[in-house]
């Protein structure tokens, strides 16, 4: 019967159409790209000091709480050079994000705020436009005291001069205990 043949033909053409539809969805984006900052390293050097302090949360938000070093500095020390490093240690090999931040220094800003401790941190670098960047800083420790140091990395800040509220969004926002002795 022509009736049956033609309906089979129609069914086939529909199947081909459907196949075409589903073939179209086989994209190659099988994996995703996640950016995770897991670790922040503070390198302090100069004035007889050569020390590293870490803030690490290797398993990401939740789970195990972050492991945070206490920054201990001798009192009355001047001209310590501070340099930050940022890592993604969830990747293998470990991804050093610092280089990428430096490469896009105009779109990034580090902000340091000290509470209670007698510690002054001042920028020691600028970005390619001559605006603040603060990856490299100069530290001055005063009288023995304890307090905290909050460090933030802002992405795409709208006003780099206004460190209290530079705009953009925080890529990280970590707080270290500080002791000057």
């Amino acid at each position: 019967m022509t009736y049956t043949t033609s309906s089979i033909r129609t069914l086939l053409s529909i199947a081909v159409f459907a196949l075409f539809l589903f073939a179209g969805c086989k994209d190659n984006n099988t994996d995703t790209e996640q950016e995770n900052i897991t670790s922040i390293e503070i390198d302090l050097a100069g004035f007889n000091i050569n020390q590293k302090f870490y803030w690490k949360d290797l398993d990401g938000p939740g789970g195990n709480p972050p492991v945070i070093d206490t920054i201990v500095l001798p009192a009355s020390t001047l001209n310590i050079t501070g340099r930050l490093k940022v890592y993604d240690e969830s990747k293998n090999p470990v991804d050093d994000i610092t280089e990428e931040i430096e490469a896009e220094n105009t779109a990034h800003l580090f902000v340091y705020s000290v509470a209670n401790a007698d510690l002054i941190i001042e920028p020691n670098d600028t970005d390619d436009n001559g605006d603040p960047f603060s990856l490299v800083t100069v530290w001055k420790a005063g009288q023995p005291s304890t307090g905290t140091l909050n460090i933030r990395l802002y992405h795409e800040p709208t006003d780099k001069m206004n460190t209290a509220n530079p705009g953009g969004e925080a890529d990280f926002d970590v707080t270290f205990p500080v002791r000057i002795e």
């Binding site: 309906s7 969805c25 984006n29 995703t32 990401g60 990428e100 890529d171 926002d173």
Partner: protein, 780 residues
């Protein structure tokens, strides 16, 4: 007597079957009434000369004629001693139930007032989207179309992402069924809009209350059911082209559908497509940066019949890109607080643009289905349906380093779903009508590492039965149904489905019982009560991460048990001439309602501290009142009003007295809302030339004052009233009907924010939007 008649019909049918390949299996069931009193007319004689068939109505005015052919012209002639001779031309395409109204010995004859397929009607509260409202809003999105119904609102993430909320519940607690297939995407996410092209639907019905028996576990609070237009039955071509444009976002939408019924065959093929594009939307005072969207959808359908078989094949593809308001992207809680405190959006590009930048979503959804029906006997029918769905949701976040970044998404969900349904259904048999069936589901979800939810395999099996009783003129109608669903999920949290580390399985019963009492032909009362349930979803079981949009750290709980709902709806319906009043009161008691409970502690992350929320369970109660009223005034004017009121609370552990419980309002419950306005209509309303309508509506949403005890991140927005205007005009262009329409949303261009929009933290709702549309139908 009934049996011998059936036998006789059977014998008449046999030669017809043998002689014609044409489908002559259709039945006409009629009710004959006296038109003025509405009383049934007993013992009228009915004949269809072309088919050489006849019947005599029973004492209740009922008659039944089977063996009618598809799409052939017939005349139904009815004679009764007390009445004028009645005759009417008729062409039927499916088993049909009709009312015939005869007049007492006058020349006038009344035409059919009701025509419907013999499918089981529901004794459940329902709202259907009006034709005009559907045409007016279809170019925007499904949520916009649905939110005009009483008891239905939307949960939004900006203006472009809208999820339907039925009587206060949404996402995994309702089902969205398109062309007979329950949509399977990542429904759990509040920012995951349904993957539906509203242009594929000809009819949208919202079923309210426990709909688990008909739509499966999960349809705990209701279902949105979209049905396509029936395939063309006449030979040749037919279809429509629709074009729309909107001033807000300078958006355009183009959609077309064409049916081709092959000459001399029963086969009809449909091709349909929709393309949509819009740029940044504008709030009254500023553009909403990065809210552009684009969409490209196609669907194809084919249906054919051969003697006792009916077949339908359908395939569709949905492809959408949605820009997410740039200002909604925040790094940590401090950023979020700054954004909330700022009266205008931060980091906003206040300019018009069609470009879609990060953050954005790219969603693909493909569906394939095959459905077949086999007429076992005059009364019994076997149906089978297989459906395949593939959903791929890719979320592109803002990346830190534009120089080195690839074009990869930060999250990609892929979900494959196979469903198989087999059912037997029967036509009225001792006044009972219904069916029973089984359903099998298989689902695989692949997220890969770093996702918010684990990868999983789910298998499910369901069995259901549903029956409905009606015996005219008995004022009672009854409906009963029961269903058992079993779900087994094997999940892995380490990113490889080879290493299953968690196995959960749930099984439970859903049931429904409904009764309708017809006080008169104008007034009926429906009471429906049902049990429904849903298994906890993987995100509730295994979530672990920061929900940036909400500024919270959310943690799942692997030992959650299913939610069980006991839902009751009581509906009064008054219909007379053009007056319609519908009132529904409902109460939904949910045992072990799953919710996010604030922990009053913070979780420290590299982006700072976030308040912790854990998934928990407690009993909850939702109750409310929906109403819709349409009253004709004089001169073609109508008064229209809709009301949705809702209260929802859960029992929370009392923080003061140990072991005591107290009521705590549920978060994200729609505020009370009122719609009221005037409609002016001229013409028959059935798409004839010169039909015109104009509707001016106001919508007032109250401020939600019933908020959870722990407070809100940002206080609930104040009450507001928006105005909208819809107008339509029909004419003929070369004998083809052309419908022109105008719709204006937020006519007064007011500034407002919606409580159920997550972006109320960041920006105002869009301002005035003027839409123009045209729809040309061709092929008759």
């Amino acid at each position: 007597m009934q049996k011998s008649k059936a036998l006789l019909i059977g014998f008449c049918l046999l030669p017809v079957l043998l002689l014609h390949a044409q489908d002559c299996h259709l039945a006409l069931r009629g009710h004959i009434f006296e038109s003025e009193t509405g009383e049934p007319l007993a013992f009228a004689s009915v004949s269809i000369p072309e088919a050489e068939k006849g019947a005599v109505a029973d004492e209740n005015g009922y008659f039944f004629i089977a063996g009618l052919c598809d799409n052939r012209k017939y005349t139904v002639e009815i004679s009764h001693v007390e009445c004028d001779h009645f005759s009417q031309a008729l062409q039927i395409r499916e088993n049909t139930e009709m009312d015939f109204r005869l007049t007492h010995n006058t020349v006038l004859k009344e035409v059919v007032v009701r025509e419907k397929a013999l499918a089981p009607q529901t004794a459940q509260a329902e709202s259907t989207v009006g034709r005009e409202e559907m045409e007016a809003t279809r170019g925007i999105n499904l949520g916009e179309t649905l939110k005009r119904l009483p008891g239905v609102t939307t949960l939004n993430t900006g203006a472009t992402i809208a999820k339907p909320v039925i009587q206060g519940l949404h996402s995994n607690r309702i089902a969205i069924v398109s062309n007979g297939v329950a949509l399977e995407g990542q429904q759990w996410g509040s920012e995951h809009a349904p993957e539906i092209d509203p242009f594929t639907a000809d009819k949208i019905v919202v079923v309210k209350g426990a709909a688990g028996v008909r739509y499966g576990a999960g349809a705990m609070a209701g279902a949105v059911v979209l049905s396509p237009a029936p395939l063309r039955k006449e030979e040749g071509w037919g279809g429509w082209l629709a074009l729309g444009g909107f001033t807000n976002g300078l958006g355009g939408v183009f959609s077309g559908s064409t049916d081709w019924h092959l000459p001399g065959k029963s086969l009809t093929i449909r091709l349909q497509g929709t393309a949509k594009r819009s740029g940044n939307l504008r709030a009254p005072d500023y553009y909403l940066g990065n809210t552009a969207a684009s969409e490209l959808n196609f669907s194809a359908m084919a249906g054919w019949k051969s003697s006792r078989w009916t077949h339908e094949v359908g395939a569709s593809t949905f492809n959408q890109r949605l820009g997410i308001l740039r200002a909604s992207h925040v790094g940590n809680l401090t950023d979020l607080q700054l954004a909330i405190e700022s009266p205008t959006p931060l980091n906003n590009t206040d300019a018009f643009d069609y470009g879609i930048e990060r953050p954005y979503q790219h969603i693909l959804h493909h569906t394939f289905k095959y459905k077949t029906e086999f007429q076992l006997t005059e009364k019994w029918k076997l149906t089978g349906q297989y459906a395949f769905q593939f959903n791929n949701r890719k979320e592109y976040d803002i990346v830190r380093f534009t120089g080195t970044a690839s074009d990869k998404p930060q999250l990609s969900f892929r979900l494959w779903t196979n469903t198989l349904d087999v059912a037997v259904e029967h036509r009225p048999w001792a006044h009972w009508q219904g069916g029973l069936g089984v359903q099998g589901v298989q689902q695989t979800n692949f997220v890969g590492t770093g996702g918010l939810i684990p990868d999983y395999h789910t298998k499910g099996l369901s069995i259901w039965a549903m029956e409905r009783w009606r015996r005219f003129p008995n004022p009672w109608e009854f409906e009963f149904g029961a269903r058992y669903d079993y779900r087994r999920t094997a999940a892995t949290t380490d990113g490889s489905l080879q290493n299953i580390d968690t196995l959960v399985h749930f099984g439970n019963i859903s049931a429904t019982a409904g009764a309708i009492y017809h006080f008169s032909k104008n007034l009926s009362v429906t009471l429906n009560t049902g049990l429904a349930w849903r298994p906890p979803h993987v995100n509730e079981l295994f979530a672990r991460g920061v929900h940036h949009g909400a500024g919270t750290y959310e943690q799942g709980r692997a030992d959650l048990i299913p939610e069980k709902a006991w839902n009751s709806n009581l509906t009064f319906l008054w219909q007379k001439d053009r007056t319609e009043v519908m009132l529904t009161v409902y109460r939904n008691q949910v045992r072990d309602f799953i919710y996010l409970d604030p922990q009053r502690t913070f979780v420290l992350t590299v982006r700072g501290a976030f308040p912790a929320y854990y998934y928990k369970q407690a009993d909850a109660v939702l109750g409310g009142f929906d109403a819709s009223v349409s009253l004709p005034l004089s001169g073609g004017l109508y008064l229209e009003s809709r009301v949705s009121l809702l209260r929802g609370y859960r029992l929370a552990a009392d923080t003061v007295t140990e072991g005591e419980t107290r009521h705590d309002w549920l978060p994200l419950m729609p505020a009370d809302r009122f719609q009221y306005g005037l409609k002016w209509a001229k013409g028959s309303g059935s798409k004839s030339a010169g039909d015109t309508y104009l509707r001016l509506m106001a919508m007032t949403a109250m401020r939600q004052s019933r908020i959870p005890g722990e407070g809100l991140l940002k206080e609930a927005p104040s009450a507001f009233t928006t105005l909208s205007l819809d107008a339509g005009y029909s004419l003929y262009l070369n004998k083809m009907p052309l419908e022109l329409g105008l719709s204006i949303q937020n006519l007064a261009n007011i500034r407002y924010r919606e409580y159920l929009n997550f972006f109320r933290y960041f920006a105002d709702e869009p301002g005035i939007n003027i839409g123009l549309r045209a729809k040309l139908s061709f092929g008759g």
